[in-house]
Symmetry: D2
Subunit: 377 residues, 4 copies
Amino acid sequence: MAGSTFGTHFKITTWGESHGRGIGVVVDGCPAGLPLEEEDIQTFLDRRKPGQSKFSTQRKEEDKVEILSGIFEGKTTGTPISLMVHNKDQHSRDYGDIASYYRPGHADYTFDMKYGFRDYRGGGRSSGRETIGRVASGAIARKILEQLGISFLTYTRSIGPVTTSITPEKLLQSDYRETSQGILSNPLYMPEESSCHKAQEYLETCMAQKNSAGGIIECIIMGVPAGIGDPVFEKLDANLAKAIFSIGAVKGFEIGDGFASAVSTGSENNDPFKMDHGKITPASNHAGGILGGISNGAPIIFRAAIKPTPSIAATQNTVNKQGEEIQISIHGRHDPIIVPRAVVVVESMAALTILDLMMEHMGSRAASLEQFYRYHN
Amino acid sequence: MAGSTFGTHFKITTWGESHGRGIGVVVDGCPAGLPLEEEDIQTFLDRRKPGQSKFSTQRKEEDKVEILSGIFEGKTTGTPISLMVHNKDQHSRDYGDIASYYRPGHADYTFDMKYGFRDYRGGGRSSGRETIGRVASGAIARKILEQLGISFLTYTRSIGPVTTSITPEKLLQSDYRETSQGILSNPLYMPEESSCHKAQEYLETCMAQKNSAGGIIECIIMGVPAGIGDPVFEKLDANLAKAIFSIGAVKGFEIGDGFASAVSTGSENNDPFKMDHGKITPASNHAGGILGGISNGAPIIFRAAIKPTPSIAATQNTVNKQGEEIQISIHGRHDPIIVPRAVVVVESMAALTILDLMMEHMGSRAASLEQFYRYHN
Amino acid sequence: MAGSTFGTHFKITTWGESHGRGIGVVVDGCPAGLPLEEEDIQTFLDRRKPGQSKFSTQRKEEDKVEILSGIFEGKTTGTPISLMVHNKDQHSRDYGDIASYYRPGHADYTFDMKYGFRDYRGGGRSSGRETIGRVASGAIARKILEQLGISFLTYTRSIGPVTTSITPEKLLQSDYRETSQGILSNPLYMPEESSCHKAQEYLETCMAQKNSAGGIIECIIMGVPAGIGDPVFEKLDANLAKAIFSIGAVKGFEIGDGFASAVSTGSENNDPFKMDHGKITPASNHAGGILGGISNGAPIIFRAAIKPTPSIAATQNTVNKQGEEIQISIHGRHDPIIVPRAVVVVESMAALTILDLMMEHMGSRAASLEQFYRYHN
Amino acid sequence: MAGSTFGTHFKITTWGESHGRGIGVVVDGCPAGLPLEEEDIQTFLDRRKPGQSKFSTQRKEEDKVEILSGIFEGKTTGTPISLMVHNKDQHSRDYGDIASYYRPGHADYTFDMKYGFRDYRGGGRSSGRETIGRVASGAIARKILEQLGISFLTYTRSIGPVTTSITPEKLLQSDYRETSQGILSNPLYMPEESSCHKAQEYLETCMAQKNSAGGIIECIIMGVPAGIGDPVFEKLDANLAKAIFSIGAVKGFEIGDGFASAVSTGSENNDPFKMDHGKITPASNHAGGILGGISNGAPIIFRAAIKPTPSIAATQNTVNKQGEEIQISIHGRHDPIIVPRAVVVVESMAALTILDLMMEHMGSRAASLEQFYRYHN
């Protein structure tokens, strides 16, 4: 199944396994004339790099990106941009019994059922390293969106039972640059220091118990103009849902008030419109910036639930390929939590989605089409 | 934007507005040789018909489906199946001021921002009537899936704060036919009578307060073989998320333990594998039947959060097209809750998604391809 | 296989068989705000109507189009436009032995091989009536293109051995409106009266011999701006080739000098650039308006070869479903030539292709994207 | 525009420019379990390698392919196969004035019109080197097709005015392996020695005159089962037409009798069916193996017209970016004819098309779907 392509206009195709030659992505449909260099992409990749705190794997992964095509004299040419990160220690490892049994919570069994066999080294294609291609291409999308006045705040909302008390509303009132840097300078990417400390304590307990934790990532997208998305199958929220759910370990997605809106009432949940400096604006944002599948100009706010890392050192029951029930204990350099490293992946998938739908939107009105061609011809 | 097509292999394209000539869907890619008649489809459409309880709109909508193409001698021919439901009272209504202002919680404003104007009659294209095409085509998908041994249980999990105490586990232990009929014979499609009564009381209070309610729909899909879905962007859960989120009013989607898994730990959340009658089977089902984006053979279980109906009789603030702040109160025959009527829509979108990915799956292995062509040539 | 959808942005999905309830098309992605009424479409459908000369079938097909959705207050809303033509005499006919044998040159055998059986009435889905949906949607594309300054001249270049001596160059020098009307007022849509007379004589001979004829259709597209199309798989000419080859009976497609360029040399075949009123322009047009898959601003010129109508009254050898070799003679009201009726189909497919790629083109440059969003936000 | 992806099931995405870091392709959707090594691909790449005769460029291009992902223990895993060829002398060259003017017959001007600027080094993305990705992925498609019993004969039919007198019928009667090797051992890939000599003489004259030549490539595909392709927009011939026309320099495409069928009559052009060893078979093959867009089991035969190489040393008129009319003469190591090197490109695109549609075909009948799932579950 050809499932490694995402997007229609700004289309990315990722490739690569955990322990193959490398990981890469081809970005096709990037508009021409965008200044782009490796550093623009590396900055984003570094946000998902492991080894930055004791709560992420201590594996050493440099993950230096190389641009192989699509750039000429420092600018995108409109043709495919091929990006690659070489895998460093692809040959060194002993995989022990991992080939012979099915790890609970992993895709080992389902790969065997789908394909008849699997590349078991480090998770193969379902390794977290697959997200390198998403982040590298997301960095380009983010750069384009920035030029259109669109910015992102993405952070760890909760780790296990520990939730930050800072709300999106509060974050939106703060200075963007400061808030953004505050989040990035925090090892868990969780705004608010006190929650962050509690989360670290919780994670230490998990690790002591050879266990792992999950959490929730929240993303705020500011500056998306009203009118983006489609009223039926290509709703903006439906596309975001798919994009975010395509990230491994995501088990839930909600927009605006999300599941809380199911216990709300119409009068509470509806966002009345008001005039704000001559512009029609929702007075509240229970909807999370989307109505009927189309952006309404308010910040888009969504959350993703991430399950606990399935690789744990504690003993687990499972079966092997011969169909024998066995007990295993997974050792190695695994993240006790992937939430902080997944923050930039969530942001990247959101950016890719928004940009793609914005490009699609350009043809929505006959008048715009005419205006475009009158100007360009 | 061409956003009214869903699916790649079993591809549907819907059309029609609330108060136009009718609502329809073209189903393209339906395998040839399936016995199909209008009654197969009508049964499903009747499940979304309004006016069956006092909690749904008292509008009279007959919604008789007509098959316009694609059937010959009682069987599908493999060419497009065009289905249509005529709108009955499309000319009768006075729309009052609805054209001039933006209803909170509706897509009025976002349509104007996207397209420059809108068909304001009854919500136009973003009316709930748009789902007729989904259900009609979903009925065909359901019929095919049935022949492959795949069945569905879809029901109202909660209405406002009232949640049924019956778990998916319990439903899965019961007799399928009986459970299924029990759910269908209930006006709220909520299993368990006592919860259902409480939900009805809650809805009556809402109505008395000119207010509306939301709720949660749960869907269990049994019999999906292991191996369906793709490990990267076309994950089975990602496709389900998009499909379900493309239904108006959905604000959240979760699979298996969903958001609860974010506060769980690895040792709790992982589903150990065991042998069951010689077959590898997950011993629990926190994952909801999907691992790494691919089905693992366990029942697929997901939930969708539905927001309260935005059309309420209580007074609301909003603005009109002239940018004046006004107060409105929406009268008319609106559902105080859409959850029960949305149950069959959720099931239909799930069926369309599963079938499409199953058709895609056929080419996953070189050996299957060879076997197919050796047999068919 | 879901093969009844064409286009990405201006996406059409056709449905219907020769003798079913009707023939239709859903146009999705039509920009909002275009004035559109049934008459705009009917004009084009009338160009493919049979019975206008003795060289087309004498069947009576009124083919009145109905707009079922997507228009509000006389303008497109940006949502799907559903168009339908009812089949008139779908019940009246006796199909005789047609169900039991395979007509040479028809798709009877290949349908059976693909689907296991077929709707044999009047050719079913592979009837020429399938093109109604193409022409109806092509009429909308043509209307949009007209507003962008793009016009078409499509005509019969040859019938059997009779070729018009008028060249595209000459047609381009003439007054467009006059030429266009001259072609339309001619029963064979062949410019130049003397060739037309010879062609009629040739056709009369064919008919007398219970035989049929083929021919070549030429299409000139004026006003397409330079820059449309893509340099690799989505070349403008590649898309035109597919669009035209998707019309039944087309056996060849060439652009510019086409097959003649294979015997030319570089110095003859290259079109030098020159300055024309301050604009870079090709001095000749061997390329037919496309270089490297992208329009160069010159008129786009292509030709399609149409095979002789396969339904002939002369005796033919074939086999029946039982595998017996038999002789047949096809009676009924068949066109001795379909070329004139196919002219508007070729033009429609070309219009759909050009419009789709023009909409795609809007996102080609970062600067245009910025300009669009700065203006629209 | 995201136009560098081809195929739906067996989906390829190519990237890279003539003088960038390299050229590559990502093959997504390749069925799992196919034995594959670099040598399988290299064999095909070597067929397009320049420098094998004096009639192709004397540039030295080693074009060694590397498999970067998707293979484990010598077999495809079902996940993306990333292939790359490094460009050798990407830094060495002086491009002189090529950046400042528009070469006739090249895509220089159209790139500038589309993207605002271009990577002018060696043609950038529209270089013939772009076809490396097509051939590398085509090699994999060919290997799968071989296992399904499908084989190809692709060769130079004509060069300039010199046409081989050997017909497809004759080639089909000969021993496949011998014929195939005979073609490959010939520097022009033209069957029949005497024509080949004449063609060489013709090319020498062209070169002496600083000119270039075009020609026609013919492709015969044997063993495609009846039933492949779709009756409407996704006709097998329409897909072949697009695939072949997406190759640079192709100006015409025809199937079976092609343009000759336009001057034929129904009784000549129809292929009667007969019984052949108990199997229904067309008695002749004017149709080229396709009826109504669907394969009929006979060999598929098509031809592509290739224009003369536009880079010629003779003086040509053109304009520069400043809009001044100038004279140029293109020097460098250019092929006086690209036809022989394009033979394997045509075959590759045909293989990719056939395989993709064969995979699509698997879901055509309800009975096959059931059989597949009953067997696999």
